[in-house]
Amino acid sequence: MLLSVKGLSAHYGRVQALSSVDIDAPEGSIVTLIGANGAGKSTFMMAVSGVLRSISGEIEYDGRRIDGLPSDEIVRLGLSQCPEGRRVWPGMTVLENLEMGAFQVGDATLVRDRLMRVYAHFPILEQRSAQLAGSLSGGEQQMLAIGRALMSGPRLLMLDEPSLGLAPIVVEHLVEIIREIRNSGTTIILVEQNAFMALGLADAAYVLETGRVALSGKASELLKNDMVRKSYLGV
């Protein structure tokens, strides 16, 4: 198990956003978290990556406890995330944004290599490398944010709603890229509103409801589950 979370609770002031959540991600898999708005999906990512500090419970990554570690150290251990919301630095160029993703990588040739790999996934970023990130379209900014998360060379990549606001054809492309990233050996945790896409792509899935795991199992099985079909697939 690359990531193993047990009894994770998190709160913002008095608001309890997660209550005793157990989630596992085996090495080399794609695990998806789905749930309604406010279910606690983003909170889970923020807690695991060490950005949110008011948490309790156990987070084990690669056999060691990482709960309580500062976020820069967690990134150094090979965990990388692409957060939701404002995902890029609008005042920096595309290239500068990507380079920031490799902030902790000292080796310039390694940075160069990874940059080439990101450009191979997203050729548009290479064309726009000197442009300010704020002037990219929404979808391009999304790609930039994913590319930047790859620049740290993660073993575990957490993506928060990467398909948000993308045209269907681009989402298909994104699915391909996420598969490629997994096939190159990176484990992925995927938070999605687009449950259909996520369940089609993932190996395992968790359904979050108001901060608790309501349902979990193989993605292919959840895809057939009545409750999931009714609440999240709308069929």
């Binding site: 630095w89 920096m92 993703g101």
Partner: protein
């Protein structure tokens, strides 16, 4: 093409330096030279504040406190121990840097208005201490008799610091070195981290930037440089008292970087020089001077948020595409 461009840049830089060195020949009146030396001190102060406010995005309303602490540290150490200015200026940087490190650790968790108010509070607190710790600071009466820097002689050039022109040349070197240091810094990895924090701190933390450490670093370095400017001031005016280092001075420094623009390095220098010289030239306007000054500032904050230099630079970049 590129080579010629940098060649032209070098030439322009050399011409500029020659012009700056020639200034005392054209303005030999003590009154003018005094304004120029003060402009240099303010240029260092404004750059050091821009590192904190402009590049890292952390509003500080107490910067004059570090200026003052540096001035007092340098003056008192040189008076009590007889160490020359060339040593005490470093002591001033160390003391002011240490103080800003401690204060930064405490306040930089706060953001926006809360940070502004808290730094203002610390600024006021430092003035209070300077006024009331009479055994050490001599209170409101100030510290007189601060020694001048000991003479230095380089081949072909001797600076005795008996004249303002000598201070002016030393100030040029000071401004040049600080500008060079900060230029290297803001164009490095550290500078990128600071800008990332300014533009979106959460995002910076999510990619593994230890935001607190970088903010504290910028605050500490800015405070240390302000302290060194304070030392320069003390050994130039030869007398210091708490009234120089009040919150009014902190705000004055903020105004300078707002005026010049705080996201470039030249902006603060421009703002410092303009706002040191301009009020003097406006003197003939009499009591209307302050009104003109105030109105101009409001206009700047509303219509030129990038400051004069920042606006020119961004227009220039736009035209080049």
């Amino acid at each position: 093409m590129n080579g010629r461009m940098t060649g032209a840049k070098w030439l322009a830089g050399l011409a500029g330096a020659a012009l700056l060195c020639a200034v005392p020949r054209f303005f030999s009146l003590d009154y003018y030279l005094h304004m120029f030396v003060m402009s240099e001190i303010y240029a260092v102060l404004a750059m050091s504040l821009a590192l904190i406010v402009g590049f890292s995005g952390q509003v500080s309303m107490g910067h004059a406190a570090f200026y003052g602490v540096g001035a007092y540290a340098s003056a008192l150490i040189s008076l009590k121990s007889g160490l020359p200015f060339w040593v005490t200026i470093w002591c001033a940087g160390a003391v002011a840097g240490l103080l800003s490190f401690v204060i930064g650790k405490m306040v930089l968790r706060l953001r926006g208005h809360f940070l502004a108010i808290t730094t203002a509070f610390f600024g006021v607190l430092v003035t209070l201490i300077l006024n009331n710790w009479i055994e050490l600071t001599n209170g409101p009466m100030g510290v007189p008799g601060i020694p001048r820097p000991s003479p230095i002689s380089l081949p072909g050039l001797t600076l005795s610091f008996e004249t303002r022109a000598d201070y002016y040349y030393l100030g040029l070197v000071f401004v040049g070195l600080v500008a060079f240091l900060l230029y290297r810094l803001v164009n490095s990895r550290i500078g990128n981290a600071l800008i990332a924090i300014r533009e979106n701190e959460e995002l910076a933390r999510s990619i593994g930037v230890d935001a607190m450490a970088y903010k504290v670093f910028a605050f500490t370095l800015g405070g240390a440089l302000a302290g060194m400017a304070g030392s320069f001031y003390a050994h130039y005016i030869l007398f210091i008292s708490p009234v120089t280092f009040t919150i009014a001075e902190s705000i004055n420094l903020l105004v300078m970087i707002i005026f010049g623009g705080m996201t470039t390095l030249f902006g603060p220098v421009f703002g410092a020089v303009a706002l040191t010289l301009l009020p003097e030239f406006l003197r003939m306007a009499g009591s209307l001077r302050l009104v003109i000054y105030g109105v101009a500032l409001v206009i700047f904050i509303i219509w030129l948020p990038l400051g004069v230099w920042g606006t020119i630079k961004s227009k220039w970049m736009e035209r080049r595409g």
